[in-house]
Assembly symmetry: C2
C-alpha cells in the first residue's frame, strides 16, 4: 500500500489529523525510566501504546536518537510500530538532502534500514537531489516548504517577482516532483495565511504541520486554512506538549490526555 493510501486510511480509522512527534529529549524523560537498559525505546513505546488510537501518524525525529548514539533504540521503535501498529504511517524526520549518489544512501537509511513509510527532505539542492527519495513510489517524501520557525523568513520568504520562494517551491513540487503522487510538504502551523495559499497551489497534497503546542500555533486558524475539501489533508504534529505532559510515572496517561484533547480540538474545526 502506498504511503498516501496508508495515511488516508489512518485519518479515517483514528478520526484524527494528529501526528505525534517522537523527540525523546534525555533531559525531559521521566527519571524512573533512566535505569532501564533501553530507556528511550521504553519511553517511546509507552507513548505509542497510550496514543495509537488517536493518531494518523508518528514522526520520530532522528536527531534525538543520534545525539545519544541510540540508533539501535530508534530501530526498535520503528520495528515495534511496524509490527504492532502496521496501519499507522511512520514519518522519519531527518530532513536529509544531498546530490543523487549520496541521497540514494539517505533514502536507503530511511526506507530500508529503518523501515519508515515517509521521510522529511530539504529541497534546497533541487529536484535531482530529491529524486532518489521520490523514486520509492510507495514511500512518502515530505519536503520542507514553509517551516514553523522565525528564521524561515530568511530564505523561504524571499520574493521572486512578487512571489515568495516557498510558493515557488510548492509549485515545483506539485507540478514537477510529484509524478509518483508521493509528495507532501511541511507548512508551519504558525503561518495560517501562507497555509491557505499553499493549499490552493497544491490541491489535495498532504501537509505535515509542525508548530502546534509548544510552538504556539493556533489550531482553529490552521485547520480552517489547511484542510482539504473533505476535511483531511493535514498531519498536525505535536511533540513536546504530548511527550512531556507529565514528568513522573503517569507520563503515558498524561500524554494520552493531551493527545485526545488535541485530536478533538482539531476535529472541531474540520469540515
Amino acid at each position: 500500500m502506498s504511503f498516501i493510501n496508508k495515511l488516508e486510511a489512518a485519518w479515517d480509522k483514528a478520526d484524527s489529523l494528529l501526528c505525534v512527534g517522537l523527540d525523546p529529549n534525555w533531559s525531559k524523560i521521566p527519571e524512573h525510566l533512566k535505569e532501564e537498559s533501553e530507556p528511550i525505546f521504553e519511553f517511546c513505546k509507552a507513548i505509542i501504546d497510550a496514543t495509537h488510537d488517536l493518531v494518523c501518524a508518528y514522526k520520530p525525529q532522528i536527531a534525538y536518537f543520534a545525539a545519544l548514539e541510540a540508533e539501535s533504540q530508534l530501530q526498535k521503535v520503528m520495528n515495534y510500530l511496524n509490527e504492532t501498529y502496521p496501519h499507522i504511517p511512520i514519518i522519519l524526520d531527518s530532513k536529509r538532502g544531498d546530490i543523487g549518489s549520496t541521497a540514494a544512501m539517505y533514502a536507503k537509511e530511511a526506507f530500508e534500514r529503518f523501515g519508515a513509510d515517509a521521510v522529511t527532505v530539504n529541497p534546497y539542492m533541487g529536484q535531482d537531489s530529491a529524486e532518489p527519495f521520490l523514486s520509492y513510489a510507495d514511500k512518502g517524501v515530505v519536503l520542507l516548504c514553509r517551516t514553523s520557525n522565525a528564521g524561515a523568513q530568511d530564505i523561504q520568504d524571499l520574493e521572486v517577482d512578487g512571489t515568495p520562494v516557498y510558493e515557488l517551491v510548492a509549485k515545483m513540487i506539485s507540478e514537477q516532483w510529484n509524478t509518483n503522487n508521493n509528495c507532501c510538504i511541511v507548512v508551519g502551523a504558525t503561518w495560517p495565511q501562507q497555509m491557505q495559499r499553499l493549499r490552493e497551489i497544491t490541491g489535495d497534497m498532504p501537509f505535515l504541520v509542525p508548530g502546534v503546542g509548544a510552538q504556539g500555533g493556533d489550531v482553529k486558524a490552521l485547520v480552517e486554512a489547511g484542510q482539504t475539501q473533505n476535511g483531511r489533508g493535514l498531519m498536525i504534529n505535536s511533540s513536546r506538549a504530548v511527550l512531556y505532559a507529565d514528568s513522573g510515572t503517569g507520563y503515558a496517561m498524561a500524554a494520552r490526555g493531551v493527545a485526545l484533547e488535541t485530536r478533538d480540538l482539531i476535529n472541531q474545526y474540520r469540515r
Copy 2:
C-alpha cells in the same frame, strides 16, 4: 584552536587545497576487504594513511555509513583521525538543519559524539536553525550555498530583484551569521563564474568545493575564480576519483597517486 586556524595551518603544512571525501560505497570497496570485521573502517584508514600528507582536510560523508548501519565504524574513522593526525581538520558531511531545539541535537551529534571539527549545514530554514551549530565558536559550520548538482538551479538560482538566491544566502552568512568567524560555504566546482562573485561577497571565507573529479569540474577555472589573495581559501573535495582509483589490493597507493596529482594540479593555478 579554532577550525579556521586549524584549516589555515593544514593548508600550509601539506601545501594543499585538496580535501579527500570519505564516501565508502559498499559496491566499490575492494572485494578482499569485505572479509574484515570492519571493512569500511579499514578502507578509510588505508586511504587516510596513504594521503594524509597531501590534504588540507578529510570529509567523511555520513550517509554512506548510515545506510550500512555503520555509525560505529564512522566513530572509529573519526577517532583514528583525531588521534593519529590531529592537525588535519575533519568536516563531517551530514547536511543537517532543523528548528533550534532539534538542531542542537544535530550539533551534538557532529561535534560531541563524532568529534568533527566542522559540519555541513543546509541553510533553507534560516539563521535560527543554524545558530546551535554557529554557537560552537571553535567549530566550523559549512553552509550550502551554490551546490555542484544540476538541480541546484531550481531554488538556488531563483532571482530576487536580479540577484540569485545563492548570492543572498552568501551575503546573509557573511554579514549576519558569521559573528564567531566560523562559517564556510559550499560552492560547486562546476560553476566558476558564480564562484568568483561569491569570493567578492564573502572576502576570505573558506569555500568547500565539491564537484572535481567524478563530477567533472574544471580545476584551473575554479582555482582562479575561488582562491583568496594569498592563494588559499579553498577546500577542493575529491571523493570517488581518489577512493576508487583502483579496485584491487593496490587501492591505497592508487588513491595516493590521484591525490598527489590533484593536489599538484591545483597548486599550478594558485597565486
